[in-house]
């Protein structure tokens, strides 16, 4: 792998055996990949996969624990980024970056933001300020050129009219574009974008795609991008690298990555071995030593996958939903998409319209004794008022016919075990005394309580 990377002259950036440890936490573990010159490389993965850490290592904000980052410039010069200070990387190795949370100079005008980005060439032409202070013409000309360059990029991002407004006054989408333009004003050869489409609406996202393609085609700048918005990733990237828990799990064209079962599993936030197992079991269909409850759960899990990512078509991989498949498929699958991909980040993927799966007669027995087909009076209690139940668990409980505090209050030992199986908890229900809490809440009756907001981050 390493030698293969090494021999490729088309790579602008080679990441070899990169590891980053924060104390005991391994954020990146032995990562190898390369970004091709003149291409858009996307770095994707679930939250906490270490994508931003990779960026911070590339741009020098972190010093990697191990590994080599080789940047090859167009003129053939090679830079070992792990040995350079952050600002030198931008200055010499020509790597520019943007930030996940926008970091514009909000008190400077839009134009000034772009001029600050041209600091180094302007510094030279002003003779390190001395000549400029004395009014030498070289600086005057350079300053005029810098403004022209800024104007060029302002036209590109449609912000010429707002050039003299403070950057902090711009709407969010414009700030994102300005940050990209500012990075481009440093004349980079590799542009690293950390979630450029975060917080953009569909139209702005499409504009961003166009801008990025323009940058690649017109300036020849290679782009490395972290993105959660699949519409951006799949549409514009030439090459996709998928990370999970700091390791690369897939690498290839958008098409091949899209259909990689490991990626599907990772992106939905399931542990690999489970889904691999699930798939194997499905393919070997017929083996059946599982309870009805688990059967229901795995069916649901597949529904969830299907709803969340129709383009990935997991049913194609797993034929005949409804037949027993998994030995030990825990309901982590069912709750995973909502739980692991935070709202706002999964915006690109169509959010599934959740219709609670009502337990059928066949499965009812295996689940909870006092499940109801629907809430009494059509209105469910706010189960999240119980400490330990978040919105996700509330939904899961609802899907299994638990709508009211008194239902939880009346749980017996077997019910708790059943509930723990599909909530993927062990002993937590007893530990957090859900039953006691539910009893109290049921006693307090219908007195309205303040809504708990903590769970719905």
């Amino acid at each position: 792998m390493v030698s293969e990377v090494h021999n490729n002259p088309a790579a602008i950036l080679r990441v070899e055996r990169l590891s980053m440890k924060f104390g005991g936490l391994i954020a990146i573990n032995d990562l190898n990949f390369e970004a091709k010159r003149g291409a858009i490389t996307a770095l994707i993965g679930p939250n906490g996969a270490g994508k931003t850490t990779v960026f911070n290592c590339i741009t020098g904000f972190y010093k990697p624990t191990e590994g080599m980052l080789t940047m090859t410039r167009q003129n053939g010069e090679e830079y070992l980024l792990e040995r350079m200070a952050d600002f030198v990387i931008t200055k010499k190795a020509k790597v520019a970056r943007t930030f996940q949370n926008i970091r514009l100079f909000s008190g400077l005008t839009v134009l000034e933001n772009l001029l600050v980005a041209q600091h180094n060439p302007l510094m030279l032409s002003s003779g390190f300020t001395v000549l400029g202070l004395l009014g030498f013409p070289t600086y005057k000309k350079a300053a005029a050129d810098a403004i022209e360059k800024a104007r060029f990029w302002l036209e590109k991002i449609n912000l010429v009219d707002r050039a003299d407004d403070p950057a902090g006054d711009l709407p969010y989408g414009a700030q994102r574009r300005l940050e990209i333009a500012r990075a481009m004003c440093t004349d980079p050869e590799l542009l690293c974008l950390d979630e450029p489409a975060a917080g953009l609406n569909a139209r702005e996202s499409a504009e961003l795609n166009k801008l990025l393609l323009d940058i690649r085609d017109e300036t020849g700048t290679s782009i490395l991008l972290i993105e959660h918005d699949m519409s951006v990733v799949m549409e514009i990237s030439d090459h996709v690298v998928v990370l999970e828990y700091g390791t690369k799990i897939s690498d290839g064209t958008p098409e091949s990555v899209k259909n990689d079962p490991k990626v599907i599993a990772a992106y939905l936030g399931v542990e690999d071995e489970e889904v691999v197992e699930l798939i194997e079991q499905a393919e070997a269909a017929g083996v059946d030593d599982i309870t009805a409850a688990v059967d229901l759960l795995s069916t649901e899990a597949l529904h969830e996958i299907e709803e969340a990512h129709p383009e990935m078509a997991p049913t194609a991989l797993i034929p005949a939903t409804g037949t027993p498949k998994a030995k030990r498929a825990r309901t982590a699958v069912a709750g995973a998409p909502a739980a692991k991909t935070a709202p706002g980040k999964s915006r690109g993927a169509p959010t599934p319209a959740r219709t609670p799966v009502k337990p059928t007669g066949a499965t009812k027995a295996g689940v909870i004794s006092n499940a109801l087909p629907e809430p009494r009076g059509g209105k469910a209690d706010k189960l999240i008022l119980i400490q330990g139940i978040g919105p996700v668990n509330e939904r899961k409980l609802n899907e299994h016919g638990i709508f009211h505090f008194d239902q939880i209050a009346a749980w017996k030992k077997a019910d708790i075990i059943a509930a723990e199986i599909y909530l993927d908890f062990d002993g937590r229900i007893a530990r957090e005394d859900w039953i006691g809490q539910a009893k109290r809440l049921a006693r307090e009756g219908r007195t309205p309580a303040p809504r708990k907001t903590g769970g719905a981050k």
């Binding site: 952050d86 930030f99 005008t109 000034e112 600050v116 300053a143 003299d164 950057a167």
Partner: protein, 465 residues
Amino acid sequence: MADTQKTGRESVFAKAVKEGLLAAALALGLFSLIVGFRTDQNIRNELVLNQRWGLLAIFVLVAGVGRFLLTAYITPWNVARNKNKRAAVEREQSTFRKSFPKIGLGLLLTYPFLVILILTAYNGSIMGGLQGSLKYVDNFGIQILIYVMLAWGLNIVVGLAGLLDLGYVAFYAVGAYSYALLSTHFGLSFWLLLPMAGIFAALWGIMLGFPVLRLRGDYLAIVTLAFGEIIRLVLINWTVVTKGTFGISGIAKATLFGIPFTPGPTGFAALLGLPNSGVYYKIFLYYLILFLALLTAWVTIRLRRMPIGRAWEALREDEIACRSLGINTTTTKLTAFATGAMFGGFAGSFFAARQGFVSPESFVFLESAIILAIVVLGGMGSLVGIAIAAAVMIGGTELLRELEFLKRIFGNDFTPELYRMLLFGLAMIVVMVWKPRGFVGNREPSAFLHKRKMVSSEFTKEGHG
């Protein structure tokens, strides 16, 4: 239409009467025991109760009538004025603001002559005018301008680069002692030592800058504060060189390119055939410090349009973003420290030449605090605002010495200048409530594409050190 107006007017009036009566009743309740009665001791040491109904009536009347006037007239008038004039006022202000620096500059350039002219007319003789102007040129003009210059110098560090420096007075001290020591020991002239003092101070700025650059915010402030104190303690304790708390006296005065301001035949007055007076030296010093202050302003204005100035301001806004754009934040911070310190050094050497005496007592932490307060009050980064703040704060405290009539009110043992720090604090509170970002909070952009628009203070940051 007229009807509704009338009823509206009447209802306001009725409301005002009601509120006035209520206020009067409240005042009566509050003050009847506090003001209405007073216990005194008579000659036999007996406690006697004096009744002061007249005074109480005044209190109650003031409260009631005041409230009535406020509700009936002042509030409606204020509302109407704000409604009608908002647009017009803004336009007027902007034209006034535009020409303000020019007016101010003109006033500064002619200030000594205006003072002499006015005092001559007042006293009826030129000599009287000259002697009388001493106080105004020296105590007001020079004193204020020194602080204007110091605050403009500190503005580069705090206002532009956003590095909170609580030890700025250290550089002032370095400048002052550089001039004092080198001129007394080696007899070097003021004009040679002025730039040298600036360079020494800048070197000290770099020396301070190196270790503290890693620190931000509060930590930076504490370390700079400590640095200021270290310099002062060294000046006190290194008695062999600095003569400790006795200070250095007999420092050579500045000359006008070799022409001394002495009463002898080679002096300035004799050469120009003018009557002998100490005021020429003061006027010379006034123009010298005015020139130095304007140099500071000019350099600051020029630097803001240079890449380094923009980098300073970008550093104030977001240091990490700066580094991501290839800006070496270490050297950028160092240049800010050094440039600010250099102007502090210039001001220090001027100070030594003006006083003829320096001692560590002139460079206590309070001075740093006052300079920083001026920068904050004026509006960080704004030269005009800072100049106004310096004039108000320093001029105001000087003015307190002049207010003899206060003695008539508070008694003969009242010394108003002792209360200047109190008033300083009060003024700061008032200004910070009224204008949280200082007199001039808006920022002028360093470059523009279509039109120069001021950047509102709500977008600019103060920096994190």
